[in-house]
Amino acid sequence: MAISIAESLHIGLSDITTRKVRSIATIFGIILGVISILVVLAIINGMNASTLTWMEQRGGTSKVDVQRNWNYDFSKGGEANLSLAEVEQIRKMIPEAVAFNSQVSLYSHNELKYRGLSYYSTVSGVLPDYLQVENWGVSEGRFITDLDVHESSNVIVLGSSAARDLIGTNDVVGKKISLGNNVLEVIGILDEKSWDNKQSGSFGGNMLEYMNQQSFIPISTAINRFDNTMKVSSLQVTAQSPNQALTLQKKLDQILLNLKQGREIFRVSSAQEGIMQMQANARIFSMVFVLISAISLLVAGIVIMNIMLASVKERTREIGVRIAVGARRIDIFIQFMIQTVLITTLGGVLGIGLGLLILDNISAYLEMEMIVDFRIMFSSVLVSVVVGLVFGIMPALRAGNLDPVDALRED
């Protein structure tokens, strides 16, 4: 006795095709709602992905940084630096760290010279782990080793731009350059760092170019051969995992407070903390826009409901005829339900299509990264199905509860 779903689908589809203009008008609101959902989710997705690549480029999500606290009032005493002994003490206290680097900045010497050419570069004294904490690699030659640190070797590793602009692109490794009164051997070139901030639009460009202009020598070389008054101004540590990074961050914070007699001279930050902040921001952002989309879908749903109610009224006689030839109330109910859901789903699919088209254009125009994945498309379709189900119930119930005798009398 039951009429199959396939049958109802068939009726629903032919209803939609015989009433094209009305169907298109009906789904207009849904299309707009789905487009707005799609665009917003794509922007959030793009923001997150872009921030994550930035994090990766800056040392990964397990990185913890110790830097001078710029908010600290230094008139209260204390200095934003650590002696090598203090660094060693800290290092021993965090054996769980996967990589550990301490850094000095050679502000007094920044002019690299090679065959009469000069290149101004920020030179830092670092440990071998620097490569790991920064998620960096060498494109040619090698990085600083424990032996280099042990012997305060006269070696230097150049950033890609420094190497290219000072020496060129051929046979850079092995060349001797001078810095201050010392002659240093180039032992390696670092990979090029690059991150285009798509979210800042045309102001972008490679935001990490400054890193390619840097150069690195062993920390011992910096102190022993250039300036023995220099002290460590920053630490970079890699934890075992992003979660461990949060624990390590708290621990380091405590260690530094104890070391500096409770003064907040240093600021400890972690990539994970940044990511959580970003996620919190994204959540607020998406909540606001999901609310807006929800309201637009609610309006669309009410419009659809009214059009379907009008359609039920207009088709009263048809419903009466169907009941007279043996349709059950549930058959009529399902017929109208399916029709509403088909219309809203069609709207959802069209919305995705148009949304993708729009995204393509605005992301190119705004030079913003927007990412649509399968999950977003699936949820958009799901939302339109749900809108159909929710707002289809009333018209379908009305159709299913029509009195056939009244319905057949209707003109």
Binding site: M1, A2, I3, S4, E7, S14, T18, R317, E318, G320, V321, R322, I323, A324, V325, G326, A327, R328, R329, I330, D331, P404, V405, L408
Partner: protein
């Protein structure tokens, strides 16, 4: 064998505070294979009675037995099943679905009866050929004459081989030529063994029936005496 029996059927319509009694205690008995005409003045309750017999409406009081089963005891979906397979309705105003072609219109009861698409198409074609509409299968009802439309409606009514055909003034909207054709078809269906109950105002039409039931003010006028 008795196929339809009503006992003291009463139907009231409430119009605000006014109560309209459309049926005022109708007792009828109709045997399987009978051709019965129902006559009576306008507003006497003929259509109301037909709707109750056709399980489209239920009486305010009284009993209706269909095939010896008390209809008021049947579930709604069982009633849908009865309308689908036991009863065929023909209306004065045809009541075809305008956006479906006539083949699809005839298929409709078979679809709700669960017949496969291919089987019901074959059957619908067969019936429409039988009423001389073989070359109009893809036409919409709006493209047909009144007589042709009524032939489609009859085809739809008999699609599921129902045991009872209910026709409420089937020739009321037709000229005498087309009306005659329609009556021919009912005659044929009667000869094939169908039970037919037909409401008509036209005494000449009623003459074709074996028996005439007259109704006046919701009451049987002459009982089963007439023939």
């Amino acid at each position: 064998m008795e196929i339809i029996r009503t006992e003291a059927l009463i139907k009231d319509y409430e119009l605000g505070k006014v109560k309209v009694r459309a049926l005022d205690g109708i007792d009828i008995s109709i045997n399987s294979g009978e051709f019965v005409a129902i006559m009576g003045p306008s507003g006497s309750g003929k259509s109301t009675l037909m709707h109750i017999i056709g399980c489209l409406d239920s009486p305010t009081a009284g009993e209706y037995y269909l095939d010896s089963v008390l209809v008021s005891k049947m579930s709604k979906s069982a009633l849908a099943g009865v309308r689908n397979s036991k009863i065929g309705f023909v209306f004065q105003s045809f009541n075809l679905l305008p956006h479906l072609n006539i083949l699809k219109n005839v298929e409709l009861p078979m679809m709700y009866g669960g017949l496969s698409a291919s089987k019901r198409k074959v059957r619908a074609q067969e019936i429409l050929e039988g009423v001389g509409l073989a070359d109009r299968l893809k036409h919409k009802p709006g493209e047909l004459s009144g007589g042709e439309r009524q032939r489609v409606a009859i085809s739809r009514a008999i699609a599921n081989n129902p045991s009872i055909l209910l026709a409420d003034e089937p020739t009321g909207n037709l000229d005498s030529q087309a009306g005659g054709d329609i009556l021919e078809i009912f005659d044929r269906l009667h000869k094939e063994g169908n039970t037919i109950i037909m409401v008509t105002h036209d005494p000449i039409v009623a003459e074709r029936a074996q028996r005439i039931i007259r109704i006046k003010d919701g009451l049987i006028d002459n009982g089963d005496l007439d023939s």
